[in-house]
């Protein structure tokens, strides 16, 4: 087999190896808690106004 033929065959095999498309959702998980500071934010805003 010539080098060109071999290259073509390799290209064909690589094309055949592509992953089949069948998407599945993978939602991002929550790992961090809401900062407690946020709860105090209205208080600090009120304090800043005084």
């Amino acid at each position: 087999m010539s080098s060109a033929e071999e290259s073509l065959r390799a290209h064909h095999i690589l094309q055949q190896s592509e992953l089949p498309a069948a998407p599945m959702a993978m939602p991002e998980q929550v790992l961090t808690r809401r900062r407690r500071g946020i709860l105090l934010r209205p208080f600090f805003q009120w304090l800043a106004l005084r």
């Binding site: 065959r9 998407p23 599945m24 993978m26 991002e28």
Partner: protein, 601 residues
């Protein structure tokens, strides 16, 4: 029942820590308690609790009633499974020979069409990427008629290994009921894969099933000691883990099967806020994925009885320390995830165990430092608290001896008990017989005792670096590394030699009475380059010696997939000449652009 076992095991570890503290206080009090003594007691208590936890896992494993093989299920398999092999700059010929052997192994069963193999490349090195494509063609010629074999390369590697698998699920996950997640160096018998699928089918709540991979193909003295240790002790420890796992078992990132739906629903990992080492991508994603599966109500389980699951390990201390550096960063990063909402209590405890696995090293180092410094802070005893009536301080030698015996017992006891168990159950026959197993265990203990002070400093440095904000990145594993020359060993460990010499000098000046004990720790550190270089030399000849040192069942009698992989690799290396790089120039040019997008640290 699991709660009771967990409580009893934690109680044992805490009781050991309290006993050690009590004995230490008695001993340190000989010349009056100083603040440094109290620091030593706290450090000793934490370190002893950690040692005792290791011992309690072994004890649980030894006295478990579930040991032995579970009867295998039979019947047809109608589900579809993807065998996922993520690669990252590894040697393609070797990795692909592993895939070829596994495909052939599954081909010997009646269920080959139920399995697809997918090689998920995150390779950033353009030359290696070009070789991957070359060897993929060879792989498909060899085994493409047995199963579907897919290959995909990401232009960059966001999320690293976890991101690689997530990308696959987002692209093709809906096709598959299960994913068998492997590493580039993993090897698994086809029959084991089928058994894993059947166990998943038998329990619809099971989200992930982990096997205990055996380490294989070690060549050096160090590698074979690790291999023996993994083969001889680990099944007992894993049985202990299994006994305490409940629904929150471990995931070690590879050689496991997961339910695609459960994994997709639970394991989409976010980036942690902030910069590495504590922020950014989650490095040790496996522990987190196990915790997230459990949080969503899925069972995570390890079945140590599953055979035919293999991996390779580092063959020298330097590669081991490099891997440890990465794992250390990953585990310390978990401190950010311990308080995550909804995580099960046991999963949080597992995170803390992972952190302790590395923090224990600086704790021991601090204890040693404090113990050398303590005598310098000693106050001169008052022999005459009452004029004319001398009172001599009570020497608590018995306390010191009991403490020493206890710590050594926690360190060596489990290993010796596993040896005794091997004699009673006949398990030692698989390791060359009782006498050979005895010599292997003794040599392994000596080897570990010499290496432990060196590893303590590598791990201490890793912890300090991470706390100082240094990021290790994600270096590719190097399983093919050969010998470490003395020069290379010196370059990697000169600072350990210095630390050892400083320790000896300090002990000589400040605590000469402890010098002998200090030498047990510091002498191996001073000899670190010799130890690192010496243990990296090939030692398979030891297997053929009358002692059959470190013989493992897999080394003595390789399984069919192991033999197949060796045969494929030998043939490929002998009869296939990789094309010179210019022929691949177009691919390299193409890959270079994308590689630059990737992260190489």
């Amino acid at each position: 029942m699991v709660t009771l076992r967990r409580a009893a095991s934690i109680f044992f570890a805490l009781a050991m820590a309290l006993t050690a503290s009590y004995l230490a206080i008695g001993y340190f009090n000989t010349d009056g308690l100083q603040w440094l003594d109290l620091v030593r007691v706290v450090l000793l208590a934490l370190s002893t609790a950690w040692l005792a936890w290791g011992a309690v896992l072994a004890l649980n494993g030894l006295f478990s009633l579930r040991r032995g093989r579970v009867p295998r299920a039979r019947g047809p398999i109608t589900v579809k499974t993807a065998v996922v092999v993520p690669v990252y700059n590894e040697d393609p010929v070797k990795t692909f020979s592993h895939v070829a052997a596994m495909v052939k192994s599954i081909g010997r069963t009646s269920f080959a069409e139920r399995f697809d193999f997918t090689i998920l490349s995150d390779t950033t090195d353009a030359r290696i990427a070009a070789k991957e494509e070359f060897w993929l063609v060879r792989l498909k010629e060899e085994a493409g008629h047995i199963c579907n074999i897919y290959y995909r390369r990401r232009p960059s590697n966001p999320g690293k290994k976890a991101g690689n698998i997530a990308d696959f699920i987002k692209t093709s996950g809906a096709l598959y009921d299960y994913l068998i997640i492997l590493d580039a160096d993993s090897l698994m018998e086809g029959s084991t894969m089928i058994e894993m699928v059947r166990r998943m089918e038998a329990d619809p709540q099971l989200g992930l099933l982990q096997t205990l991979p055996k380490v294989i193909r070690a060549r050096s003295f160090f590698g074979r000691a690790i291999q023996f240790s993994a083969s001889y002790y680990s099944p007992i420890y894993a049985q202990g883990v299994a006994l305490l796992q409940g629904r929150e078992g471990p995931f070690w990132g590879h050689n496991a099967i997961t339910r695609t739906r459960a994994f997709a629903q639970s394991c989409g990992l976010p980036q942690l806020p902030g910069k590495p080492p504590f922020g950014g991508h989650i490095l040790s994603h496996d522990y987190v994925e196990a915790a997230l599966l459990a949080r969503n109500g899925w069972k995570v389980r390890i079945d140590p009885d599953l055979r035919g699951s293999f991996e390779e390990g580092p063959d020298n201390v330097i590669d081991y320390a490099k891997r440890d550096r990465r794992w250390c960063q990953g585990n310390l990063q978990h401190s950010r995830i311990v308080p995550a909402p909804g995580i099960k209590g046991w999963s949080r405890f597992v995170f803390i165990q992972g952190i302790m696995a590395y923090v224990s090293a600086p704790l021991w180092a601090l204890f040693l430092t404090a113990s050398i410094a303590a005598p310098a802070m000693r106050v001169v005893p008052d022999y005459f608290p009452v004029p004319g009536l001398p009172v001599f301080p009570k020497v608590e030698t018995a306390n010191a001896l009991a403490l020493l015996t206890g710590v050594v017992g926690l360190l060596l006891g489990p290993k010796l008990l596993i040896l005794v168990d091997g004699i009673i159950t006949g398990r030692n026959r698989r390791f060359g017989g009782g006498i050979r197993a005895f010599f292997s265990v003794v040599t392994e203990i000596i080897c570990t005792s010499i290496l432990a002070p060196i590893m303590m400093l590598f791990q201490t440095r890793a912890v300090i670096e991470i706390l100082a904000g240094a990021d290790a990145g994600w270096p590719a594993a190097n399983r093919e590394a050969g010998r470490v020359s003395l020069g290379e060993a010196w370059a990697a460990s000169w600072w350990i030699v210095v630390a050892g010499l400083v320790t000896i000098g300090a002990a000589y000046r400040l605590a000469p009475e402890y010098l002998v004990f200090v030498l047990l720790v510091a002498a191996p550190q001073v000899a670190a380059p010799l130890v690192i270089s010496g243990t990296s030399y090939a030692s398979r000849a030891l297997l053929r010696s009358p002692l059959g040192l470190f013989a493992t069942p897999e080394e003595v009698t390789p399984t069919s997939v192991m033999r197949e992989q060796q045969s494929v690799l030998a043939r490929w290396r002998a009869d296939t000449v990789e094309p010179p790089l210019p022929i691949m120039a177009d691919k390299i040019a193409e890959s270079k652009d994308s590689a630059e997008v990737g992260t190489i640290r």
